[in-house]
């Protein structure tokens, strides 16, 4: 008798389980997760993308762009006292958001460490990664990233004191017997060691230093004769930390390494790649043609050339075919600005001069170049 009751109860539980199971899986949040959004069909695999699900569609349906930045990189992405992001990389996130969504502020900035940045792209946490990330062969091929157009050409340089005999013409040979400091375990360290070997000089590596702040501090203390990192980092520190009475010199004129920085996204998603790439190209073409955020309204009414007309969404525009709004690049330029505006606004104050650098336009002898919009 009792056993039969038990069986009935068991049957009821099982039936109940099946009914509950059939309710489907619309919310799969974890019990302990602090804040979990409803699961999106994040396109992390090649198969999904080939089925036609592009990140572009995801971003448009979501209405915000998840953009990976550093959040702690001087002039590239700085977290402001009110929590917002400011800087060159942050502005390129805004360019993409303005182009895709029509609103430069429809962004969810995800601040990432160097260790998590690629995982964040692979798992779909971020749609695009604009976090001073160098374009390298291994990252492009093995890690499953695709790289967009380079927005900033950086390269490793050295910084020493004028009082120690350094000048703008100094070279790697002048480092013989000196103590050189850099972040431990980075390619920076490998580059300088290789360069010293090639030049046949002996240098002492200071440190090890876990953080760049500590490197600069050691340079200020005089523990290090010379420090080395990417040129943008050196210039930024010189601009804000050089004590009175000292003159810090950055050399050699030609960096000892190539560090092209630009947007990065998951591989094999051409639709999304096109959207990001052409948003960047649009800022460069605008710069080449004198189109700025200030005169964008005037130029859309009366385009100076057919190319600018097409770029701003006039007759013959190509944006709609890409899955973007016709006025995508008009919004990007209008709301954020062209390449020169973004550069000057963010990198100017820390002393990174564009003229004469690799980041000048191609007509001025630099490397910033965009394919034609037609």
């Amino acid at each position: 008798m009792r056993n039969r009751k038990l069986l009935q109860l068991l049957a009821a539980i099982l039936a109940f389980g099946l009914v509950a199971g059939a309710c489907g899986d619309s919310d799969s949040s974890d019990e302990g997760s602090a804040e979990t959004t409803a699961a999106e069909s994040t396109d992390t695999t090649v198969e999904l993308n080939q089925d036609g699900g592009s990140i572009l569609d995801t971003v448009i349906s979501r209405g915000t762009l998840n953009c990976g930045v550093s959040g702690a990189a001087v002039a590239f992405s700085e977290t402001q006292p009110d929590g917002s992001q400011k800087g060159f990389d942050a502005d390129y996130c805004r360019v993409v958001a303005a182009a895709v969504l029509g609103d430069a502020e429809a962004i969810n900035f995800v601040a990432l460490t160097a260790a998590e940045r690629f995982t964040a792209v692979q798992t779909g946490d971020v749609d695009v990664l604009i976090r001073n990330t160098t374009w390298t062969q291994s990252r492009d091929s093995e890690i499953g990233m695709d790289f967009g157009p380079t927005t900033y050409y950086d390269g490793q340089q050295m910084m020493g004191r004028e009082s120690d005999g350094f000048s703008a013409g100094s070279d790697i040979d002048d480092l013989d017997g000196l103590t050189i400091c850099m972040n431990a375990g980075t390619t920076t360290e490998k580059n300088i060691a290789d360069a010293a070997d090639a030049a046949g000089i002996s240098i002492t590596l200071g440190g090890p230093f876990e953080e760049y702040d500590a490197v600069v501090q050691a340079f200020l203390d005089g523990t290090c004769d010379v420090i080395t990192t990417d040129g943008s980092g050196l210039v930024g520190r010189k601009a804000v930390q050089e004590p009175a009475g000292e003159n810090w010199i950055i050399f050699p004129a030609t960096p000892i390494s190539k560090e092209p920085l630009g947007p990065t996204y998951a591989q094999n998603d051409s639709k999304w790649a096109d959207a990001v790439n052409w948003a960047v190209y649009a800022t460069i073409i605008a710069d080449e043609n004198g189109l700025t955020s200030a005169n964008a309204d005037a130029m859309v009414a009366d385009p100076p050339s057919a190319e600018i007309g097409r770029l701003l969404g006039g007759e013959g525009e190509r944006q709609t075919a890409m899955g973007l709004p016709a006025d995508a690049f008009f919004q990007a330029i209008k709301q954020v600005g062209n390449y020169d505006e973004i550069y000057t606004r963010n990198l100017g104050p820390v002393g990174l001069v564009r003229d004469g650098s690799a980041n000048a336009g191609w007509l001025d002898g630099g490397l910033i170049y965009a394919p034609p919009a037609r």
């Binding site: 899986d25 949040s29 974890d30 959040g71 702690a72 700085e78 995982t119």
Partner: protein, 636 residues
């Protein structure tokens, strides 16, 4: 005299500590500091060391060209709440208001009877004033600047400082504050005369007054000013304005709220059921504040009517019926077997969901777990109808609260968030510590019980878990949860990083807590178990009523030690890229070149963060000392 006055009536209570003979100062110094030549030398040496260390610290923190305390002042909001949207900031204040109201209410309900003697208050004032005075005297001369505001340097590139007196000149406010403190201390000391030893003030009143003084100072002292938006350019300390403009009014409201709720609590303390209700609210508070107030979920009512509510009703009715059956005293061992079957079903729903065999609402899975838990303890509630009814009502309420919170968690937030999380800074540290403690404590107790269980399978699982977790550094656990875990999860399942690291913290600290509790369990004598068995208690009753209370009492010191270290371990979140308190000081602020240039200003932030961590840890440590004294650990 003291027998005539009840504790509630009097602010000043004459207690009866034995009057200790106090030595005259000269005698005291001779006896304690210079009792022999060797001791005298040691005293002098260490006093000198102390003086130089103190002087070094003061001059490291202030009057140093590398220090710019605006780096902390201008970023106070970032430190406290990171990127919480400004237009919704009232939610932060509402949360704080709820917490403080409940604190005041609880203080009124329980009316803790702690007292501080006037003598001790006086020595606090005198000591604080003396330290401040010493700090003001220890500063170096002011750095000299030229007309452009640049620091002057001599031919050796050393900075030129003015005379010592020039340093003192800029510290007028320090001297003033020191004078006020010393004056107040002396007034209490000499004003009360011999009565200072047996004049007492309630700790509650003293705390409230101290809080009031700090809040009041916001109206006059320039701590740091944050107001407006970057677009308006009004971020920063306006040197001529009153500081903390944006926070002084809310804080004053908070202070009043605390006081009012205290009196309300005092007025209603005789009412029945209020204390357990308050405790329940404390338990639900972190969840409520987090998901309802701070996150502001946008509830999809159509989904609630079509899915959530029917599911709740189904579980409530069928689960209630199952539990009512299980509490039937004549069911016997079959009830227990059934409960284990339910547990298996609950585990299976998770395993199946993880491998994607079938899809199922998370809420259904959790409901099965809760049902299984209730079923497992059901036979403790077997008995007459009223007892069984109470148990089923308990099930309905628990299930309701759980479904309510899961619905909230699954609803999108309406906040206009511009970063990956609305939580960061100190607010996140607090939530991580609270959630970590809330979940790791029960888990730790369960693990300890399992490890001392007589069932080998429990022993094996618990021992394996504890030894594996204790053998791994915390930072490795964090890396696994923040970076590796997303790669292992099945398609479509995602865990927010903030949640994942808290899970890591819970697992890690529960393993250590389990060992602390196990130590306590071992101190419970055999006879206690036997006596419980002889009385006819079930295993669960024996554990809950006899063994655990004694074991936990003994484990208080190590448990608090573990709690303090969990609180501090939240700072390791900074390494896996969460914008907690430490990361803001260490990475974010030192990389701000605009609107004000704080590049390289790391030490101010680190000092500030250390101070806040120290205050939290010290408060916990003090509280545990009190708890130990109250429970008589060490004296019994």
């Amino acid at each position: 005299m003291s027998g005539m006055i009840t504790v509630e009536e009097a602010e000043e209570v004459v207690a009866l500590p034995p009057e200790q003979p106090s030595l005259p100062p000269g005698e005291w110094i001779r006896k304690n500091l210079f009792s022999s030549i060797g001791n005298g030398v040691l005293t002098v040496l260490f006093a000198l060391l102390l003086v130089f260390a103190f002087r070094g610290l003061v001059n490291f923190a202030f009057e140093n060209p590398e220090r710019d305390w605006d780096a902390v002042r201008a970023n106070l909001r970032l430190y406290m709440t990171f990127a919480y949207p400004l237009d919704q900031y009232v939610r932060v204040w509402v949360s704080l208001g709820i917490v403080l109201s409940l604190s005041g209410l609880s203080a009124g309900l329980w009316s803790p009877d702690g007292y501080v003697s006037a003598r001790r208050i006086s020595t606090w004032f005198l000591g604080g004033g003396a330290v401040l005075l010493a700090a003001a005297l220890a500063v170096q001369g002011q750095l000299q600047r030229d007309e452009n505001g640049e620091f002057l340097i001599d031919e050796d590139l050393e900075l030129i400082r003015g005379s010592w007196a020039s340093g003192l000149g800029s510290r007028i406010s320090w001297f003033a504050l020191a004078a006020i403190l010393i004056g107040a201390g002396a007034a209490i000391w000499f004003g009360l005369g011999d009565r200072r030893r047996n004049t007492f003030v309630r700790t509650v009143n003293l705390t409230y007054a101290g809080f009031g003084v700090i809040v009041g100072s916001l109206w006059v002292v320039r701590y740091g000013h944050y107001n407006g938006s970057p677009a308006e350019g009004t971020h920063y300390a306006d040197p001529d304005s009153l500081v903390a403009m944006s926070t002084r009014l809310p804080w004053t409201v908070m202070w009043v709220l605390l006081g009012v709720s205290y009196f309300v609590g005092k007025a209603v303390r005789g009412w029945p059921l209020l204390k357990p209700l308050a405790l329940t609210f404390w338990g639900l508070l972190p969840f409520f504040v987090f998901w309802v107030v701070l996150r502001d979920p946008d509830i999809d009512w159509a989904h609630v009517w079509t899915t959530d509510l029917p599911m709740y009703l189904a579980f409530a009715v069928i689960g209630g019926a199952v539990l009512f059956t299980l509490t039937n005293p004549s069911l016997g061992e079959i009830g227990r077997a059934l409960a284990f079957v339910l547990l298996l079903v609950a585990v299976f729903t998770f395993v199946g969901g993880f491998f994607g065999w079938f899809s199922m609402l998370q809420k259904a899975r959790l409901s099965f777990v809760f049902l299984a838990a209730f079923a497992l303890v059901a036979n403790n509630f077997a008995g007459e109808f009223a007892k069984r009814r109470t148990f089923v009502i308990g099930w309905l309420l628990t299930l309701g609260v759980m479904h309510y919170f899961v619905t909230l968690i699954n609803s999108a937030s309406t906040l206009n968030i511009r970063s990956d999380s609305f939580l960061g800074g100190f607010m996140f540290t607090i939530f991580a510590a609270v959630f970590g403690l809330m979940f790791s404590f029960p888990l730790g107790v369960l693990l300890a019980l399992a490890r001392t269980s007589s069932l080998p399978i429990f022993r094996l699982l618990a021992t394996t878990f504890i030894e594996v977790v204790r053998g791994i550094p915390f930072i490795t656990v964090l890396f696994f949860f923040s970076i590796m875990l997303p790669l292992f999860l099945p398609e479509g399942m995602e865990v927010a990083e903030h949640g994942a690291v808290i899970v890591g913290l819970v697992l890690f600290s529960s393993a250590y807590l389990a060992e602390n509790v196990r130590g306590g369990l071992q101190s419970v004598r055999r006879g206690q178990y036997e006596a419980a068995d002889a009385t006819g208690l079930t295993t669960a009753q024996r554990t809950g009523l006899i063994v655990l209370p004694q074991a936990l009492r003994v484990s208080i010191p190590p448990l608090v030690g573990q709690t303090i270290s969990s609180y501090k371990e939240t700072s390791l979140f900074a390494i896996v890229g969460i914008f907690d308190f430490l990361r803001i000081a260490n990475n974010v602020v030192p990389n701000q070149s605009s609107p004000i240039n704080f590049v390289g200003h790391k030490r101010e932030g680190l000092l500030f963060v250390s101070l806040i961590y120290w205050i939290g840890s010290y408060a916990m440590s003090k509280y545990s000392q009190k708890l130990e004294k109250k429970l008589g650990v060490g004296s019994r």
